[in-house]
Structure formats: C-alpha cells, structure tokens
Subunit: 274 residues, 2 copies
C-alpha cells in the first residue's frame, strides 16, 4: 500500500491531513511542508508552480500512490502542471470545496482565502464550471493565517478580525461561505460564531478528505483492519504510519503541528527540495 502524499507550503495543510487521517485511519500518510519557502500566498504563480513540482517530485521518490495538494495557492497555480507531470492521481483542495459550495448554495457564495488565491479567481472559475448561475464573491483574509499559527484562533482579536473581514460578505447576502485557505479551519469556531447558523460553511479540508476517500481504491479503506483483526495486536509495518517532512525550521513546525493536530509529532524529517 503506497502512502498518500499531502503537500503544503507550511502548516496549513495539516487541517487536510487531519481530516484524511480521520477518514482513512489505517492508511500511511506522508506530509510535506515546504517551510523554507512558506508562504506561497503572496508569491507569483510561476514560482509557486516550480516549488510545487519540486515538492511533488520529492514525494514521488518516496513512493506515494496519490498526491493531495493541501494548499489553495499551489492548487490554483500548479494543479494542471502537477497532473501533467505525475502519473499518479493528484487531488487539489479547490475542486472539492467548489463542488460542495455549488451543491449547498441557494445562489450566492462567499469565498475567503489568501491574496494569491483570491487574485487567481480559481474558486469563481471552479464554481461556475459546475453551476454558472451562482454568484461568487471572493475576499482576502490574510490575517487569519498568522492568527492560526499564533494559536489565537479562538481569541477576542480573532473574533474582531473575522467581523471586519466577513462583514462585506454578510452585507452582500451570501448564503454559503467557503474557507478557501487550509489554515482557516483552525478559526472555524470563530468564523461560525460571526456568520451565524444561517450560512453554510464549506471547509475545504473536509471536502478534500472526502474526495480522497472516494478516490482511494476500496481495499485501502477496508483491508487494513485485517492485521488487528488477526489478533496479533500489531498493525502491518507502515500501515497507518504518519511521516512529516519539512524543508526548514523543524521545531517551529513541530510546535504548531502539535497544536493543529492536537497530538505530538513523532516522525519528523528535515529535507531539501532545491
């Protein structure tokens, strides 16, 4: 069973990792955070595409059977190039979120994301490709990223920032809100509090993980119970194991990842991509 590779510019994609690990608890996962070059959200598409290809190639060399691009900016800038370059399935975070938004909305969708993702209009294009009649309003919420990384997701400051960022979307009458950056699920409670219960939240970490489960060949989702069921009390080597790779600042990653995942990070390696 080949591991699933999950790639992000830093720690944000851990929200996607967390959901995949929850849905496929016995599947080996390799997470790569390109922390030497984070953030991608303010970089140009050409640079993001090059970095993404380097990260993907590294994961392919480690034998992954599927690549999840757990970063909206990288999905927006590099998904077609990655699909072309790799001969394994490649899943981005935008398409699943866009599909969920198109299904749930009554007609007006708000998308909050990084400046890079908003500039790309990737969510608008993806939602319109599914349902052209939907009105999509995209808005950048850059402070949510450092608030999440600072561990301030549930503070009064986060609430106030969320009110400022979300007010124009609420005034515009959105009925569905896409969390279009993988950091944002860390602030989900705060965001839900601000928007109220009349607005559907699309968490692209959740929708992407569901897409990964659907695409995983069924043995993946069912067979690994066998070792434990054999009664030997041990799982096969590699099954369900989680490996974390970073390109710099491993201790910072370890600290934030432990907060995001609410568990200690065991296997953490420093790697070089360039």
């Amino acid at each position: 069973m080949n591991p699933i590779g999950i790639f992000d510019s830093g720690v944000g994609g851990l929200t996607v990792f967390r959901e995949i690990a929850r849905l496929l608890p016995h599947h080996p996962l390799i997470y790569l955070g390109d922390s030497a070059r984070v953030p991608y959200g303010t970089k140009s598409p050409a640079i993001v595409q090059r970095y993404s290809l380097e990260a993907a190639n590294h994961l392919v060399q480690r034998g992954i059977g599927m690549l999840v691009v757990a970063c909206n900016t990288a999905t927006s800038a590099a998904l077609p190039a990655l699909k072309k370059a790799l001969d394994i399935p490649v899943i981005g975070v935008i398409e699943p979120g866009a599909r969920a938004a198109a299904e749930r909305t009554k007609g007006r969708v708000g998308v909050i994301a990084t400046e890079g993702t908003v500039s790309s209009r990737a969510y608008t294009r993806a939602i319109h490709a599914i349902k052209p009649s939907v009105e999509v309003i995209e808005s950048a919420a850059p402070l949510f990223v450092p608030l999440a990384e600072e561990g301030w997701g549930n503070t009064h400051v986060a609430r106030e920032v969320a009110e400022i960022y979300l007010e124009p979307l609420l005034d515009a009458g959105i009925d569905t809100l896409v969390l279009g950056c993988t950091h944002y699920p860390i602030l989900r409670g705060t965001i839900e509090h601000v928007v109220g219960d009349q607005i559907a939240i699309v968490d692209s970490a959740e929708t992407t993980a569901e897409c990964v489960r659907e695409m995983c060949p069924s043995p993946v989702a069912s067979r690994h119970h066998l070792p434990a069921e054999r009664g030997d009390g041990r799982r096969s080597r590699g099954e369900g194991s989680h490996t974390f790779l970073v390109t710099d600042a491993a201790e910072r990653f370890r600290r934030i990842a432990s907060e995001f995942l609410e568990q200690e990070i065991e296997k953490l390696e420093l790697v070089s991509l360039s």
Copy 2:
C-alpha cells in the same frame, strides 16, 4: 558616488530606507526586497545566511558602496558572514538599536521582534556587549508584521494586539522598548499609545539611518547640492535616485511600498537571486 544598497526579506526594510532617504536625500539608493523568499523570521539561521549572501552579491554587482542589512533576522543570522564576504562597509540594524537602548535605559530594556530574532538573543548579546548590567527582556510579536502589511497599523485590532504583546513587558517594568523588527515602525503610533510616554522607544530604522549617515564619507552628505547650485536645474545622473528590486510579486510590493513610503514607487525591477 556609489549607491547605498539596502536589503531586506520583503517590505519591512522600507522603514530603514525611508529614514536613510530622509537623512541623505541626495544619495542614490538601491533597495532589494527578497519577496520570493519572505519571511526570513521563521527560517533557520543557515538558510537566512545563504539568502543574505545571495542578495548582497547581487547588490555588489550593481556597484553599491555600502550595504545596509535592513532586516533584523538577516542581521542576526548573517552579519558576520556578510562582513567577511564583502569588502565594502556592512551595517546591520541590531547594533545601532542596541547602542541607543543601552544609552537611554535606566536598567531594563524590552525588545519586541520576530520569533527568529528573539530566538537568536541577538539584542540581548548586543546590549550586554555595550552595558552588561542592563536587564533585557525579549518577546516575539509576530502579528505586527501582517498587521503592518495589511495597512492595519493604526486600527483598533492593532491596538488590542499591541496591548496583549506589550502587557508582559510593561508588567516587567521596562523603561525602554526596542522595535526590533523593521516592520514595527509602521505601528509606532499604536505602540506609543499603549506604552505611554514614560517608556523610551528605540526605532531601529531611525538609529540605523543615523549610523549610515555617520559612516558615509562627508562628501556624500554635502557635495550633491552642487549640481542644483550650478543653476542648471538638473541633478547629476544617479544622484538621489531610488531603485527598487524585488525577487517576486512586484505589484504587491509596489502597493505596500507606496503605503509605507507614502509615495509612488517609480523604478521597480524583478530580479532573480538563485
């Protein structure tokens, strides 16, 4: 007259640029923002040192006569390596700020900076090298950077964040506060409001610019009035001219730089360092 090169990981060093341009209005300046690899504050010292050498080499090739490392993280990680590698004067932002703090304090200095700068204890070492009896308390204030870049330096959110970050320093009884990140002067008004007028603020952009003026050979500071004084109404080519170089996302740089400098950016070039 060789231009002064001013280097930062992104836009923060523009506060240093602004002060140098104010003190030496007729001196040509080249600013290089390594926006492809921003931020340095969360990266490891080895990576920051490599990036800094690449940036410095690029500026040397453009004929600079002095290098100002307008980034606390780069100064902390790379100043000795840069001084060793280059045969022109190299000025960092830490030494001038540390000297001003040691001169002004009655005994207890607070330093706010990025995580990288705080971890390095560079300000503590630099202040102790001048006056070992001073007590130095360093504290990270990472949200100040995105608040400055978002243009939120004077908002209620910034005030609240500043209160949270500064409260432990105020409780510890500091009498002097060093703004140990080149972004922070953008929030100076907010910070001054929170700390009150009993605490001396050391703005490392200001102190560094003063150090640059002292080190510039006196002709630099006086002779360039001559062309205008000749009555031909034109300055010599290059005198007082400002060139901006970035490694990515030029339009984002242009927007934020215009806000930081309160003037339009004219000469802006995209360059590659790696």
